[in-house]
């Protein structure tokens, strides 16, 4: 492969990240933790980059992507997805901090809870734990408590929060004004940052198009550029402003309140991003090789291979998905409960469960893609060029790799992006049923499940539901819109119309 400018920049960035990580390891003495899903996430990132570079050099993949770049809704969705991915990646670098008071001799002692880079970025959210429920922007707890005064008398009242609105005076007067002022400051800061970012992007674009800064902005405003840059920049502006607003406010208040044990709901919703993304992407990553190999083999070789593979996927497919998942997860729970020695920390145990869930979901969801690939391979093997190739004595493996694989790539790509949103939604349902991720893993399903138990409470504890709803809805909507754009660009049937 020819090493161009883009490749060099990517290699440089990866190198920089790794060396930064090593440096901070030496400087702070923490212990890196590589969870199963972390490693797979890294592999996924590397393979996506590799695929992007590969696609750049192949016209049959490059041209549809160009069409995607022109779609306004799709590009706006992609920007939002990238913010989610960024949060998920930050949350995929795990480590354990050393204990404060080390014993003098022997090995280093480490804290039992595993942190991520995201926790470091959001210290105010991670550490500000209250006693129990509090509503969004509250300064007092949600439940009354008996408070003993200095003179010995006791009253029942709502105690002040330790962190939410702690900078206000004793009676938390002027809270509304304070929230408004802080919102204004946060918005202004966000706008400033986003204008800065957009300026940098415009500058780079101007350089790329070799025109002046002014010409570049005019080109984008008039929507003459090849990609839908105007929408991209607008979405960037909105996202950055909103994120900075949330970030700024979260220093003073619990923007989405706190849950039963006083943890910040916003923090949980953000931490759930990784779980959602992992389930949406790793499941596909795990099932893809099997579906591809078996599907193409069945269609290409036919005969008894076809019969065996068809039997395999018809059998798996005939078990209702949720029941197969439930059965497999129940069995895995027993296995893990009987072998506690396999896991060093709680998060390793939870992560193994997440990993297994991905595998099980993959097993139940590969059949559809496999059937489609089989049908396509059946059609392709009769094509003249493949007949010619086999007449020339090209080996079966080479025919599959050189002639069939490129021709089914669009099906695979469409299936991958279409599956994603469904898997994110499925996670919530599975966690509700009790066969999803570990109860200690942050996930939207667990968030909903925890809130559901309080549905009967008067007044209602609604903020956990709201947070889970907003975070999930935006991710799934963005994924749906983006996958529509991808499908429209790659599906030959739709392209013809």
């Amino acid at each position: 492969m020819r090493v161009g400018k883009t490749e060099l920049i990517i290699i440089l960035i990866v190198f920089l990240c790794v060396s930064l990580y090593m440096l901070s390891w030496l400087a702070f003495g923490f212990k890196p933790v590589f969870l199963w899903t972390d490693v797979l996430v890294y592999i996924l990132v590397v393979s996506i980059i590799a695929f992007a570079l590969y696609a750049k050099s192949k016209p049959h993949l490059r041209d549809p992507w160009r069409q995607v770049w022109r779609r306004k809704l799709g590009m706006s969705a992609l920007v939002i997805l990238l913010f989610y991915v960024f949060a998920g990646l930050l949350d995929s670098v795990h480590f354990r901090m050393p204990l404060q008071n080390q014993t003098s001799e022997g090995e280093m002692q480490y804290q039992s809870d595993v942190l991520t880079v995201l926790d470091m970025v959001l210290p105010s959210l991670h550490e500000n734990v209250e006693k129990t429920y509090s509503s969004p922007f509250a300064t007092h707890l949600f439940a009354k408590e008996t408070i003993q005064h200095d003179d010995g008398s006791t009253t029942r009242e709502y105690p002040r929060l330790k962190f939410g609105g702690a900078h206000l005076d004793e009676h938390a007067s002027g809270r509304t004004m304070d929230v408004l002022v802080n919102t204004f400051i946060g918005l202004t800061m966000g706008l400033l940052i986003s204008v800065l970012v957009i300026g940098v992007i415009l500058f780079l674009l101007a350089k790329h198009w070799s025109c002046s800064f002014k010409q570049a902005s005019e080109k984008i405003l008039k929507q003459e550029s090849e990609a839908a840059w105007a929408v991209v920049l607008l979405t960037l502006l909105l996202c950055i402003t909103l994120i900075s607003l949330l970030y700024y406010l979260s220093y003073y208040y619990h923007v989405f309140g706190t849950d039963k044990v006083g943890r910040d709901v916003l923090y949980q919703a953000i931490k759930s991003i990784r779980t959602g993304l992992v389930i949406g992407t790793l499941t596909t990553l795990i099932m893809l090789p099997f579906a591809m190999m078996l599907g193409i083999m069945a269609g290409y070789f036919r005969g008894w291979i076809d019969d065996v593979i068809q039997y395999l996927y018809t059998t798996l497919n005939s078990i209702p998905g949720i029941l197969l998942i439930a059965a497999a997860v129940l069995m895995m729970q027993i296995y893990m409960a009987n072998h506690p020695e396999l896991f060093e920390t709680d998060s390793e145990r939870a992560d193994t469960r997440l990993f297994f869930l991905c595998i099980i979901l993959g097993i139940t969801s590969w059949t559809g893609l496999c059937r489609m690939l089989r049908g396509e391979a059946l059609k392709l093997r009769e094509m003249d060029y493949i007949q010619a190739a086999s007449a020339f004595g090209v080996s079966n493996f080479k025919i599959i790799w050189r002639h069939i694989q490129p021709n089914v790539m669009h099906i695979i790509l469409i299936a991958v992006v279409l599956d994603f949103s469904g898997l994110v939604l499925a996670e919530a349902v599975l966690s509700y049923v009790g066969v999803g991720v570990d109860p200690t893993t942050y996930s939207w399903g667990n968030l909903i499940n925890g809130a559901r138990l309080e549905m009967a409470r008067e007044p209602l504890v609604w903020w956990s539901l709201l947070a889970a709803f907003i975070f999930m809805f935006i991710l799934v909507l963005a994924a749906n819109l983006f996958s529509d754009a991808v499908r429209d660009a790659f599906d030959p049937r739709i392209r013809k119309q």
Partner: protein, 325 residues
């Protein structure tokens, strides 16, 4: 015809055997009955006697697949595999781990499931086809564009939020119907309205979009152009010709889910406290009653295969181009 159906049924047998083997492996080979007993009795402080008794009560103390101590046929029949897996083929589900008769429970609980699933299917179908026809009628206009966007938005909301939102709005704020529960006979209707309504609304997004694609595919065909060339009005073309021909994929898509209606919906039934097979399954999962989960897996697969056979038959009935072979 009869010949064909019988042959299709024979094809189903190896698949059912496969399903049976998978469930058997999952439930008895991955973990031994000892592990299951320990899980049920609490992980710590379990005496070996308690485990033996738990296994003996449920018949899990037999050899897994081959009983060398028994005589004759009993060598094969007096085993866990035969007792718990092979008997599923004749729908002898046996007893649950809690000691109840699973077959009886299923026959009792399937009616509430049907009472929700059938109206949801029929009303949902009507609503989806109506909206899809409307959107297809205004295709390539702003109504079409925004209709699709609304569908995508509706699809992006998790089904659980429809239920929670509906319960909150209708049950809690407006006090129109009870939030959850069930009753026998006609009293059940007031408990059924809300879940049915939510089931229909929750499916509109994906359903409308799917049927819209079907209609648009049909609209692009030659006979539609001919009909237009004859001078038929657009609405007549759509409602008479397109709808009629699109009924084939719609009908066959519906037939495949018909048998599965018995299984009910896990989420809906559990949120609304309806004693159907869906909540039966959820309760079994939560109390880790493996006998029930095993039976439901087999029943679900069986019903799915029945659905497939029915689909093939219905194809031949509605589409004269397809011959039985």
């Amino acid at each position: 015809m009869l010949n064909y159906i019988i042959r299709r049924m024979f094809y189903a047998i190896p698949i059912l055997i496969g399903v049976n083997l998978i469930t058997f492996t999952l439930f008895f080979v991955v973990n031994t009955p000892d592990d299951m007993a320990r899980m049920h009795l609490g992980m710590k402080r379990v005496t070996p006697e308690a485990i033996e008794k738990w296994k003996a009560d449920r018949g899990y103390d037999k050899p897994v697949a081959f009983n060398s101590e028994a005589q004759g046929f009993a060598k094969l029949t007096d085993t866990i595999f035969f007792e718990n897996s092979v008997k599923l083929f004749v729908f002898e589900f046996g007893r649950s781990d809690a000691g109840r008769d699973i077959g009886f429970d299923i026959s009792q609980r399937m009616w509430p499931s049907l009472a929700i699933a059938v109206p949801v299917l029929i009303l949902g179908l009507l609503a989806n086809i109506t909206f899809a026809l409307l959107v297809a009628f205004f295709r390539a206009t702003y109504i079409d564009f925004w209709g699709v966007v609304v569908c995508v938005v509706l699809m992006s909301i998790s089904g659980m939020f429809y239920i929670i939102g509906g319960q909150f709005l209708v049950g809690k704020l407006l006090h129109l119907v009870p939030i959850s529960g069930y009753d026998t006979g006609f009293d059940a209707i007031k408990f059924l309205i809300l879940p049915v309504l939510i089931g229909v609304i929750g499916g509109i997004g994906s359903g409308t979009r799917w049927y819209r694609t079907l209609f648009l595919e049909e609209i692009g065909k030659d006979y539609v152009r001919t009909a237009r060339a004859k001078g038929l009005s657009e609405s007549l073309v759509l409602f008479k010709h397109v709808l009629k021909n699109a009924m084939i994929p719609i009908l066959t898509g519906v037939v495949v889910v018909l048998p599965l209606l018995f299984m009910g919906s896990l989420i809906t039934e559990s949120f609304f406290g309806i004693p159907g097979l869906g909540s039966y399954t959820i309760d079994a999962i939560n109390s880790q009653d493996f006998a029930i989960v095993r039976s439901m897996v087999f029943l679900g697969s069986f019903l799915y295969i029945v659905g497939l056979i029915l689909t093939d038959i219905s194809y031949t009935l509605v589409d004269p181009r397809i011959r039985l072979s």
